[in-house]
Structure formats: structure tokens, C-alpha cells
């Protein structure tokens, strides 16, 4: 078993919790899209779309994107480890995923900033 408080152990929990959060969001996403299934669905869908474009929701989108990026980059690290890559350099691999993730989230913030500050 992993020894508690090692990097790998923390990464394992981060991977689990981020995965569950993304799965939860997927169902929320389907619920919101289901506005189109209502009678006069297009009007309902458009109303939902206007709401989720509000600045608060765009900030939530960035948080969601950050969670997805963390899960995806850590997943790539795990697949690399399956092939025996970057295991001894585990510390570097985890820092690398966090560094690349931070850059990706920063770019997302720059892209979405106009929709947050108006």
C-alpha cells in the first residue's frame, strides 16, 4: 500500500475526488441541457443558456476546467507510469503536471476574462 502523506498517495486522492466531481458535473450538464426536452424546448434552452453565461458561472467554468486539467494531466502521468516512464522521477512528474496545468488554467482565465469583468 501507499504510505500516507507521500506525493503518490495525495495524487491518488486528488485523482479520485476530481474524477467524482467531473462525473457529478456531467449529470448536472445533462440536466441543464434537458431544457431542450421540454415542450417549446428551444425557448427553455435559450433561457438556461443566458443564465449560465453570467460572470459567476464563467468563474465556475474556470474552476471546472482546472479540475478537468488536473485529472487529465495526472491521468497522462499514470499511463506513462504504466509503461515504466517517469517513475523514479515521480517528484518531477507531479511538479510538471501541476506546472503545465497552471499554465493551461492561466490561458483559460485570459480567454474568459472579458466574460467575467464585462
Amino acid at each position: 500500500m501507499y504510505h500516507k502523506n507521500t506525493r503518490g498517495y495525495k495524487a491518488f486522492w486528488v485523482h479520485r475526488i476530481s474524477g467524482l466531481l467531473i462525473l457529478g458535473y456531467l449529470y448536472l450538464h445533462l440536466v441543464l441541457l434537458s431544457a431542450i426536452l421540454l415542450p417549446s424546448g428551444a425557448a427553455h434552452f435559450n433561457a438556461v443558456a443566458r443564465v449560465v453565461e453570467q460572470p459567476g458561472f464563467v468563474v465556475a467554468d474556470i474552476v471546472l476546467f482546472a479540475i478537468i486539467v488536473v485529472h487529465a494531466l495526472n491521468g497522462i502521468r499514470l499511463i506513462a507510469a504504466d509503461f515504466g516512464a517517469m517513475i523514479r522521477e515521480n517528484r518531477l512528474a507531479i511538479w510538471l503536471t501541476m506546472g503545465i496545468g497552471a499554465v493551461m488554467v492561466f490561458i483559460a482565465v485570459l480567454m474568459l476574462l472579458p466574460h467575467i469583468v464585462g
Binding site: 491518488f12 424546448g41 453565461e53 487529465a72
Partner: protein
């Protein structure tokens, strides 16, 4: 385990074939790689802003967009629900949880139909199964 094997303790053990590798294990990684393409594409084409039922319907007249959405729906549900199944399986006592595979598979199937009905509603301007 779905996410990361806790039984591999040294770099050496990673390189031997003594750890049994299941199809669930391989498919979890394969669907994860597919998601890099499908989810990356989804986030890229959606553009987030100024969307409407008309915009989505017009986007979905292109076969590439349809394939992207259907591929994403299936791969994200496989990956997400298989991961979820692994977490629940771990919480159950050894040998329990034969029902779990059926329950999660059923949930996945229902969700795929749900997602396809949403796409159908955009294609034909009314759902196949109405709420």
C-alpha cells in the same frame, strides 16, 4: 483499482508482468486517452458564449460535430462510471458486489439514451422521448 494500483511498490515491479492486467484496466486508460481528444474538441468548439438552440442545431448538422458529441458521450460515461464502480467496489467486502456491474452498466445505458435523446431533440427540433 481503477485509478492507480497501490500494490506496485517499486520501480522494478512496474516493469515485470507479475501484476495481472484486466480489460477494465486497459479500457480505463484507453477511454481516458480518447477523452483527451473528445473533451478537448468539445471545449474547443463550444466556445461557451452566445449559444442558443439554433446555434447548437446548426453545429450538429455537421457529421464531425455529431461524431464528436456521440464519441464524447460514450467514452466519458464509460470512463466516469467505470472509475465510480472501482471506488464503490473497494468499499465493499471481498467477494461482494456482483450486482454492482449490472447496476453501473444499467445506469450507463440509461444515461447514453438520455444524452442521445438530447441530441435527437436538436436534430429534429423535438425529442424522441419527451419529458
Amino acid at each position: 483499482m481503477a485509478a492507480e494500483s497501490p500494490i506496485k511498490t517499486s520501480p522494478e515491479s512496474e516493469k515485470t508482468s507479475s501484476t495481472p492486467v484486466s480489460w477494465a484496466w486497459i479500457l480505463q486508460r484507453f477511454s481516458g486517452l480518447l477523452l483527451l481528444v473528445f473533451l478537448g474538441g468539445h471545449l474547443w468548439v463550444e466556445h461557451f458564449m452566445n449559444t442558443s438552440a439554433a446555434v447548437v442545431a446548426s453545429r450538429l448538422t455537421h457529421v464531425v460535430d455529431d461524431s464528436l458529441d456521440i464519441g464524447l458521450l460514450i467514452s466519458v460515461l464509460y470512463h466516469g462510471l467505470n472509475g465510480f464502480r472501482g471506488i464503490i467496489q473497494e468499499m465493499l467486502p471481498e467477494g461482494r458486489g456482483a450486482w454492482l456491474n449490472y447496476a453501473v452498466f444499467g445506469l450507463g445505458l440509461i444515461t447514453v439514451v438520455w444524452g442521445l435523446d438530447i441530441l435527437w431533440a436538436f436534430w429534429y427540433h423535438q425529442p424522441f422521448l419527451t419529458l
